[in-house]
């Protein structure tokens, strides 16, 4: 029996669900080898990994809280990758947004009612601004966006830590943390006795909004068109440069909002460890969602479970907590392979000339 790859004309809708699920299953199967290598029972480790997140009402809500920044960075990457603007910089844009939010939230002279709104707006602007730079470098100077967005993550991280070590350091804290934001700048809690804050709701609302933008607006159409076929888009009269700039602004703005949620809803300050790589996880999430904004939500929830569950698993079984990182990398690779089935179908050729 022989196989042949054939180009597929259209992809069935159920692929959007089946492909990520198969990628996740394959990932868990592959990673079970590492769990066994670490000397743990695979079922025990995986049940710790996944069940702690849903074991109580509090933990379930907490999963959504953890997913919120991931939804934002996932959306940021999904929008950017649609235009083939390779924004690997959601990490730096998130930091930039977090700093903007913490700065606004600490200004004494601002009226109380405006604080939260201003923090949200400032974080989006700061994230967008930090994404604008690589977009301009790409459109004006043809500088590869992958490299610049990656390098800018490091630049922003050092800017942040320099400020936290120096002028912005909380004098009352022994750590390089910024001072706490004002009490009335803290995001409202939406569910009593939990940490479900306004930022979580915003991230859940952002997903359908971005879906609407991509599917129902001219700009969204242009974003996808520029990504799929830039020369045809240019021929069709789409202003590619402008579309790329808008894409970068939207993408960076979304990543910046992730920072606002973390500052306004959770930490109430900026510290060096404010993002344990949310920007990079966003890439995996966007790919798993097949760049579909709605799909970003379940993908982000999945990784929120994995990232939180990994600590419970590590405590209970001794498997290194970094299994979560291996799962992320493996999921990205398996999803990439699974994507092949959207462009190709495998046809088995029966044996005859």
């Amino acid at each position: 029996m022989a196989f042949r790859l054939e180009l597929r004309e259209q992809t069935p809708v159920w692929f959007n669900i089946v492909l990520p699920l198969s990628a996740v299953l394959a990932t868990l199967l592959l990673c079970s080898g590492l769990v066994a290598l670490a000397g743990a029972n695979v079922f025990h480790a995986y049940s710790e990994l996944f069940l702690s997140a849903v074991s109580s009402r509090f933990n379930l809500v907490e999963t959504f809280v953890k997913a919120s920044p991931l939804i934002f960075t996932g959306l940021a990457v999904a929008v950017a990758f649609r235009a083939k603007f390779w924004n690997i910089g959601a990490e730096g844009q998130l930091l930039s947004g977090a700093m903007a939010a913490a700065y606004i939230g600490g200004i004494e002279s601002l009226p109380s009612f405006s604080l939260v709104l201003l923090m949200i707006a400032a974080s989006a602007l700061a994230g967008a601004g930090w994404a604008l730079l690589p977009a301009i470098l790409r459109t004006r100077f043809k500088v590869d966006d992958v490299v610049t967005t990656l390098l800018l993550n490091f630049v922003m991280f050092y800017v942040m830590t320099a400020l936290l070590d120096g002028p912005w350091k909380d004098p009352l804290s022994g750590y390089p943390d910024s001072p706490d934001i004002r009490m009335d700048a803290e995001f409202p809690i939406l569910l009593r006795a939990t940490r479900l804050h306004l930022g979580v709701l915003l991230s859940l609302l952002a997903a359908p909004m971005i879906w609407w933008l991509i599917r129902r607006t001219t700009l969204g159409f242009s974003i996808s068109a520029v990504g799929e076929n830039p020369s045809a888009s240019a021929y069709g009269g789409i202003p590619i440069t402008r579309v790329l700039i808008y894409t970068a602004l939207i993408s960076g703005g979304l990543a910046g909002l992730a920072g606002a949620g973390e500052v306004g809803g959770l930490h109430f300050q900026v510290m060096a460890g404010i993002s344990p790589g949310y920007g990079y996880t966003g890439i995996v999430i966007a790919m798993l969602a097949r760049l579909n904004p709605i799909g970003v939500v379940p993908a982000a929830l999945f990784f929120a479970v994995v990232v939180t569950g990994a600590e419970a698993m590590s405590r209970a079984t001794g498997v290194p907590v970094f299994l979560a990182d291996v799962i992320q990398g493996t999921a990205l690779v398996t999803m990439l392979i699974a994507q092949l089935f959207t462009t190709y179908r495998i046809r088995t050729l029966t044996t005859q000339g």
Binding site: K142, V143, V147, G166, I283, P320, D325, Q328, L336, L340
Partner: protein
């Protein structure tokens, strides 16, 4: 001002510069081979880290630094093979595959390091490579101590540059590799296997990136930390562009970069300029972006870079 300059530009400064340049030369020349064959290997950052980790662990347990180097090479080649499977065999996006390889390699490095060493209170370390003086040559004033009292790996790195130039430009193999990166269909018509050449380019890149990572833990730091690479791999991607995809120019870029890096270390230590140390750490990244901006407009990448090759499509 003059005092600062004389304080900084001493023999020790240039010796340090050559040492700092070494991993950049290895990884940049590695990346160059992959890119000349038409594959952008963004796995570089993760491969360097994973190579550093396996190299360190092997050296730690075997007490043999060279065995560690071998382990790092093999690690790099293993991850490069996976990169080849994704981008060459399956023709998937080189950007996303490369990021995937970096994330996966990073995860592996963290996971296995924790599995092997746990969370020790003092960082496990090894006895680092000692400098090897070259007889007679080391006697030359200035140049001697700067160039000829380095570790064996540094000599290897600098021998690699003419070797790479020779392989790429003077041998039939190099011609094939470059043709595959410029015009794979022509290479294919001439009977050259595009995928075989691309796998070879990637394997070389992985091996050299592995060594680059291992150098950092075996010469520069003598211990493995999670942040040991911290962006060095990404800078090598920029150095290839800066070097216009040529071994000599890329190595020159690595030297120039090492000069900046050595300078920021000196300034940081000398406290002549009162700035937070993060500003110095940031400098290489900012300067890399600035340089990329200056050279990218006229940069001419291999024509088939990023484009998967499928025989039946033209």
């Amino acid at each position: 001002m003059e005092e600062i300059i004389s304080q900084i530009f001493q023999v020790g400064f240039f010796t340090a510069m050559i040492r700092i340049a070494t991993p950049f030369v290895f990884a940049t020349i590695g990346e160059l081979f992959a890119e000349r064959s038409g594959v952008l290997n963004l796995g570089i950052e993760g491969i360097m880290l994973f190579g550093a980790m396996t190299g360190f662990s092997t050296a730690y347990f075997s007490n043999s630094l060279w065995l560690g180097i071998l382990a790092a090479m093999l690690t790099g080649m293993m991850m490069a093979t996976l990169m080849g499977f994704l981008t060459v065999s399956l023709g998937l996006s080189q950007h996303v595959s490369g990021i995937g390889i970096t994330l996966l390699s990073t995860g592996f490095a963290f996971f296995f390091y924790r599995l092997i060493f746990g969370q020790p209170s003092t960082l496990p370390n090894i006895k680092a490579f000692e400098p090897v003086s070259v007889p007679f040559l080391k006697e030359i004033p200035w140049i001697g101590p700067v160039l000829f009292e380095q570790t064996a790996l540094t000599y290897l790195a600098f021998a690699l540059v003419p070797l790479a130039a020779f392989l790429l430009h003077q041998t039939p193999w190099g011609l094939n590799l470059r043709t595959v990166g410029e015009n794979p269909h022509a290479a294919d018509s001439a009977g050259v296997s595009v995928s075989a050449m691309r796998y070879q380019g990637l394997l070389i890149s992985g091996a050299l990136m592995g060594i680059a990572g291992a150098f950092l833990v075996m010469v520069q730091f003598n211990a493995f930390t999670f942040g040991v690479i911290s962006g060095r791999g990404w800078i090598c991607i920029a150095l290839v562009v800066f070097g216009q995809w040529g071994p000599w120019k890329s190595a020159a870029g690595a030297l120039l970069f090492a000069l900046i890096d050595a300078l920021q270390l000196r300034l940081q230590a000398s406290s002549v300029i009162e700035l937070p140390y993060q500003v110095f750490l940031m400098m290489p990244f900012v300067l890399t972006i600035v340089t990329m901006t200056l050279v990218s407009r006229n940069a001419r990448a291999p024509s088939a870079l990023l484009i998967p090759f499928r025989k039946e499509e033209r």
